[in-house]
């Protein structure tokens, strides 16, 4: 099963290498990884989608937690959350098919962000299903280039995965054991 982990890390150079290295070294399968700064400039948030059974995910979380630069790991898979991906698609678009493409763009509430002589560049955001669907719909026109971010995610309602005052870091499964 696929799990979505949100991981707060120190905004240090090298932290991405640590996390990526951990996954490859221990043979975990990353589906996607997105990283960027948070509201606190000293902290970055990684959203990692990883494939594995419960035992694997438990090890992934524990191994991540073990990294000194990792502040907090939350598995939000089972919790209500919003998740989004962003895709840019450059698609062949002769004047004859432009109308059709624009209709698709509208249906998916995507946007055209650039026009070339023979191409259109489309920006779409949404969850994975929607992104896959728009890609499928545009395929017949011949997609020339596609770039897609990893998934980012956030809990719904007034719940957070953030640390308060940077101080509620790892409790290291204290509650569990």
């Amino acid at each position: 099963m696929r799990h979505t982990l949100t991981v707060l890390v120190e905004n240090n150079p090298g932290v991405l290498a640590r996390v990526a290295g951990l996954f490859s070294r221990r043979g975990y399968n990353i589906d996607s990884l997105a990283v960027g700064r948070t509201e606190n400039p000293t902290i970055s948030r990684m959203t990692i989608v990883v494939e594995g059974d419960d035992k694997v995910i438990e090890q992934v979380s524990k191994q991540l937690n073990k990294l000194i630069d990792v502040i907090k790991v939350s598995d939000i898979t089972a919790e209500e959350h919003v998740d989004r991906e962003l895709v840019l698609i450059k698609v062949n678009a002769d004047p004859s098919v432009r109308g059709e493409i624009m209709q698709i763009v509208e249906i998916f509430r995507a946007r055209i962000v650039d026009i070339g002589r023979k191409t259109l560049t489309i920006e779409a955001t949404g969850d994975e299903g929607k992104i896959n669907a728009i890609i499928e719909s545009l395929k017949p026109f011949r997609i020339r280039e596609l770039v897609r971010t990893g998934k980012i995610a956030m809990l719904r309602g007034s719940r957070f995965t953030t640390v308060e005052n940077g101080d509620e870091g790892k409790e290291n499964n204290k509650d569990e054991y």
Binding site: A17, K55, Q59, L67, G169, K170, N173
Partner: protein
């Protein structure tokens, strides 16, 4: 007053009360060495950086204090790698400093540039590349904190040359607050109660103790628990010395070359109490046949070890010493039962044994070392058969007396580790029980031992073979001895060339006398070349992938 980065480094080491630094100079650490020149800190010059890392590691294992080593950039730094990996696998506290090319030269394939930060990411507990001298003191403080707390391990600090030259104000910070690092020390009270209840209910309990007992200084608590609840104790290779092996409750070592009775006890037990151990494959053999009848309590400081290799019924995350203290308050006194009678029977029926045949038996040499040193020596080992014979035939009774590369199995570890151990504990007798293959991997450190007049003893169990590999070839590869028949140098001449005492023993009757003679030498190392029965194998043995209760016999 402002100090240079190099001076700050030296000040920090003084603040940390570092007593020994093992190192080797070079271009990128010239400033650091220049600062050491003025310092009361004791620096030991090795002959190869790998020797520095292992010596720092041996020092740490023998004393419980962090080991410190220094190497220059590029090849100096890469020479540390095996030593860091060795320490990492065995959770040994080290702080390693490497010089690096100046910051403006980083990333340009500059002379003697190697990305040691990147190289050591997977073999250190944590590592740093310091790009601003203002960060240096804090980083060093954090490094010592990280290396020595929680699950200990090596930490590397890479220091570009200009950072060691630039100046900054020196303030040695307090113990850092790292928001990503909060080792849990006390066991969860509910789990402690569950464990106590499980111990009370168990009819056939066994304690399986590892290196964590030694690193947390919990040998006394372990003994109390075993004696109070009357629970037999087996240890891992790393756990040797955590529980006295001459104690009636001791089962010796378990696993691939463990005692039959330890492996039988684990296979039959109904409660396995794992303490500071990590269910390594050399211990468990075929994992689904390991302790198949047992509930498992697992006490460890590292949450990631829980459930990594085996399912655990009662996990307790915490410092072993604290958890055992908590547990001791909750358990009830046990008593002798049929289980103990059964174990006694196994012990009598299946002792570790070997047969004399007129040649020098390696087991006999180890026993003689035990007798001559009255069981009081610090034993380091190389890797291979020599390591297993040392583990099997020397009776270890105290923590920090068996010093061996367990997790990585690093040939060439024993001699530099003996140097570190001897420097850390100058009054003790230190023996490196060596193989003729392994000893050649860091033989150059004899020069270090001679230079510092260290009276370490090296006992080579010389079979003119890469013996352990030969044993596997004999048993599992139809005796096809591919490249394991090695001829060594004349070790006696070699020792003498270095300025050490060299001896050769070819007859069993001369073993004792040679050892006694070696004990008289106090001002330099002694190397004894024991020409042993070269076909001797290590038994019992669990074949790879086998269940631990199905052991091969000689």
């Amino acid at each position: 007053m402002k100090l240079s980065g190099a001076q700050i480094l030296v000040k920090c080491l003084e603040e940390e009360k570092v007593e020994a630094i093992f190192g080797y100079p070079g271009g990128a650490v010239l400033d650091i060495y220049d600062a050491l020149y003025d310092s009361p800190l004791k620096h030991y010059l090795v002959r190869h950086e790998q020797g520095a890392a292992h010596a720092a590691d041996g020092y740490a294992r023998a004393t419980g204090r962090p080991g410190v080593c220094i190497a220059t950039s590029g090849p100096g730094a890469t020479n540390l790698v095996t030593g860091l990996a060795t320490a990492y696998m065995d959770s040994i506290p080290l702080v390693a400093f490497t010089g690096q090319v100046a910051t403006h030269l980083l990333g340009r394939d500059s002379f003697q540039e190697a990305d040691i930060y990147g190289i050591t990411l997977p073999i250190t507990k944590h590592n740093f590349l310091v790009k601003d001298v203002k960060d240096l003191a804090r980083v060093i403080k954090e490094a010592f904190h990280l290396a020595t707390t929680g699950r200990p391990g090596p930490v590397l600090i890479d220091i570009p040359k200009d950072v060691s030259q630039k100046k900054a104000k020196f303030d040695y910070p307090e113990v850092p607050r790292l928001r990503g690092y909060r080792p849990v020390l006390d066991g969860h009270p509910e789990k402690i109660s569950e464990a106590a209840a499980a111990i009370a209910e168990a009819r056939r309990p066994v304690i399986y103790a590892g290196g964590g007992v030694i690193s947390s200084g919990a040998s006394e608590e372990l003994r109390q628990l075993a004696e109070l609840c009357v629970i037999p104790v087996t240890t891992t290779l790393m756990g040797k010395g955590a529980f006295p092996e001459n104690h009636p409750l001791s089962l010796g070592m378990l696993g691939m070359h463990g005692t039959k009775y330890a492996n039988y006890a684990v296979s039959e037990c109904d409660l396995l109490i794992a303490i500071g151990a990590r269910f390594d494959d050399r211990v468990t053999g075929r994992i689904d046949a390991f302790a198949p009848k047992a509930r498992i309590i697992h006490i460890d400081i590292d949450p990631a070890e829980i459930g990594k290799n085996v399912r655990v019924d009662i996990p307790i995350v915490g410092d072993v010493k604290r958890v055992l203290q908590q547990l001791l308050k909750r358990v009830q006194a046990g008593m002798e039962t049929e289980w103990h009678a059964k174990i006694r029977e196994w012990k009598e029926k299946y002792p570790l044994k070997y047969e004399q045949n007129g040649k020098i038996k390696p087991q006999f040499v180890v026993e003689q070392i035990y007798e001559v040193t009255k069981g009081e020596a610090i034993i380091t080992t190389e890797v291979g058969q020599n390591q297993m014979w040392a583990a099997q035939f020397y009776t270890f009774t105290k923590p920090r007396t068996f010093i061996s590369s367990g997790g990585l199995g690093t040939m060439g570890y024993g001699l530099p580790a003996a140097i570190g151990a001897q420097i850390g504990r100058p009054g003790e007798t230190v023996f490196d029980i060596a193989g003729d293959g392994s000893i050649q991997m860091n033989i150059q450190e004899l020069a270090t031992a001679v230079a510092y007049k260290l009276p370490i003893k090296v006992a080579i169990l010389n079979n003119n073979y890469l013996g352990m590999v030969r044993q596997w070839q004999e048993i599992f590869y139809n005796g096809r001895l591919a490249y394991t028949d090695i001829s060594g140098p004349d070790f006696v001449k070699l020792a003498e060339a270095y300025g050490a005492v060299g001896m050769r023993v070819t007859e069993p009757k001369d073993v004792r006398r040679a050892l006694e003679e070696a004990m008289q030498v106090k001002d330099r190392p002694v190397l004894i070349d024991f020409i042993i029965d070269r076909e001797e194998n290590v038994f019992p043995m669990v074949p790879p992938g086998g269940a631990i209760n199905e052991m091969l016999e000689g």
